[in-house]
């Protein structure tokens, strides 16, 4: 029923990646990543640090263009589209950034209203929708506060409110629970679950908290060294055939050590134009 919206020929897939490769200067971040998320699906992406998880999320959001491969999001080919067309797709996608990325010069209310204001929503309904959304994440009445007055957990929820206020068809969450204690973590996942039940949209979550994300997602993909090492139902993760995946998920050392025996080369700091 929803599959044919907006000339969607993807056969019901919200995200389809085919052989996506991304390389920065001298280092490959993603190599031939192929993934498919059906509409209404919940994909969890796990993997060791700097394995390309956040980069993959930015490729799906159209913020980064792959060097090779095809990216179809909500029926549009983002790898080949012009910037204007990509921007139009982005309006239908919501994203929670790893460090919330709240606009620190805007109040909480203006932050949440931002996608509506700039998405061409009729101005009269905005205030009510923002209030409703803030109530939804348990922050009713904090419209006038500034992001700097909030704690980490509250900022995360404002970020979630901003990502979901325009009822996106695809919601991307980058580390929604990093650094939070177990109780707050499960409250956040309750929130994501409730949101999805309400909008029927698609979710992609990147997280290093393997146990928590496995409890939320229906499908798990593990990225290792920029490649998809394993994809399967979340329930099968802890008993995966691949010993590396299994021991990573369980936090066992022996085989998992291979995951770590690889230094991550990052550009040297402070290489500016003038220095």
């Amino acid at each position: 029923m929803t599959a044919q919206r907006d000339g969607d020929a993807g056969g019901g897939a919200a995200v389809e990646l085919q052989g996506v490769t991304v390389g920065f200067v001298s280092r490959r971040v993603l190599t031939g990543v192929t993934l498919r998320v059906p509409r209404g699906g919940r994909l969890g992406i796990i993997g060791p640090a700097a394995g390309g998880k956040s980069v993959l999320l930015k490729v799906i959001a159209g913020l980064l263009r792959p060097d090779a491969g095809a990216v179809r999001v909500l029926g549009h080919d983002l790898a080949a589209a012009r910037e204007r067309e990509v921007a139009a797709v982005r309006r239908r996608v919501g994203m929670l950034f790893q460090n919330y990325a709240l606009f620190d010069f805007l109040s909480v209310g203006d932050n949440v209203a931002f996608p509506l204001v700039h998405g061409g929503a009729p101005p009269e309904g905005i205030e009510a929708r923002v209030a409703a959304r803030l109530r939804g994440v348990g922050l009713a009445g904090s419209e006038r506060k500034l992001p700097s007055e909030l704690s980490g957990g509250m900022k995360k929820r404002v970020g979630i409110a901003r990502a979901t206020v325009a009822r996106p068809e695809l919601a991307l969450y980058d580390e929604p629970t990093a650094g939070l204690d177990p109780v707050t973590t499960s409250k956040i996942y309750d929130l994501l679950r409730a949101d999805q039940a309400e909008t029927g949209g698609t979710c992609v979550v990147v997280s290093s908290d393997v146990a928590a994300v496995a409890g939320f997602a229906d499908t798990i993909a593990m990225l290792h060294d920029g490649r998809v090492r394993w994809v399967g139902p979340a329930a099968a993760l802890f008993d995966a055939d691949d010993p590396l995946v299994r021991s990573f998920a369980r936090g066992e050392e022996r085989e998992g050590a291979a995951v770590l025996a690889r230094a991550v080369a990052i550009e040297p700091p402070g290489a500016g134009v003038w220095s």
Binding site: V25, M95, N99, H118, P269
Partner: protein, 270 residues
């Protein structure tokens, strides 16, 4: 055996690519800013009063700083010139008129802009740079908003206007401080000192052209540096430094170019 030259060649190649990349970025930011300011400004949905807020941030909060520094420079310049002129022949009568000419033609706008390059350039680069590394720029793009239009264009308008205004305030402060120095240290009659006879309209035009050019260059260079920030807070620091150096240097180069053009067009009439 061939490893060393190949390596240095690769690094040279990478550096050249980086430089080309940086320059392309600068051109893109400059073009985006100018076209955003001229063609599409009224189409955007920027928060109301953004330009006024930027004018306040750039102007009001630099006013004291600019006037204090320009005041001191005025004192020093007049003091030095008086010392010199009294050594050879007593040319104290000429000092004020000469000072006014130099102030309008060059020192006023250029020094004001040098000061703004440090204060405003650093501010813009730090603000935009920290937005970049905390992914706020990406969050803007997620709402289909162009960062150059949303962030740099209002600062561009505000900075052009405020550089002109602050130059005038700075000149006034410098002139007044110079006059006081002349009166108290060298007994120059204020009426002799505050003499505008050597300032021609061409000087005013040239000086104000400089102010406008500086005002346009600072937000573009600083915004460019901010948007190129990478990494974490140290990336913001590097971007800020680059912005201060880049915009100060832009001021010096523009000063040189515009002065040279003035010299070619007006010649000895200046």
């Amino acid at each position: 055996m061939a490893l060393v030259p190949r390596r240095s060649l690769t690094s040279l190649g990478a550096r050249t690519l980086d430089l080309v990349d940086a320059v392309t970025d600068l051109v893109r930011v400059a073009a985006g800013t100018v076209s955003g300011a001229v063609f599409t400004y009224w189409r955007g949905t920027r928060p109301k009063g953004e330009i006024a807020r930027q004018m306040h941030a750039i102007g009001n909060r630099s006013l004291l700083f600019v006037m204090v520094t320009l005041g001191f420079v005025g004192m020093v310049m007049v003091y030095q010139t008086c010392l010199l002129t009294t050594q050879v022949v007593d040319g104290r009568g000429q000092v004020g008129a000469q000072f006014a000419r130099l102030l309008v033609l060059d020192v006023g706008p250029s020094l004001t802009a040098m000061m703004l390059a440090t204060r405003v350039g650093a501010g813009i680069a730090a603000e935009i740079g920290s937005m970049k590394v905390t992914e706020q720029i990406d969050a803007l793009r997620m709402s289909a908003v162009t960062p150059v239009d949303y962030l740099i264009v209002p600062r561009f308008f505000a900075c052009v206007l405020m550089t002109v205004v602050l130059s005038i305030f700075g000149m006034a402060a410098s002139w007044a401080a110079g006059g006081l120095t002349g009166y108290y240290s060298f007994q120059i009659n204020p009426r002799t000192f505050f003499d505008l006879s050597m300032v021609a309209p061409a000087h005013v035009v040239l000086g104000m052209t400089k102010a406008v050019a500086y005002g346009a260059a600072i937000p573009i260079v600083a915004g460019w540096c901010g948007l190129r920030a990478r990494g974490s807070s140290e990336g913001v620091g590097a971007a800020t430094t680059a912005a201060v150096i880049g915009s100060s240097f832009a001021v010096i180069v523009l000063d040189f170019i515009i002065s040279a053009i003035g010299l070619i067009f007006w010649g000895a009439g200046l």
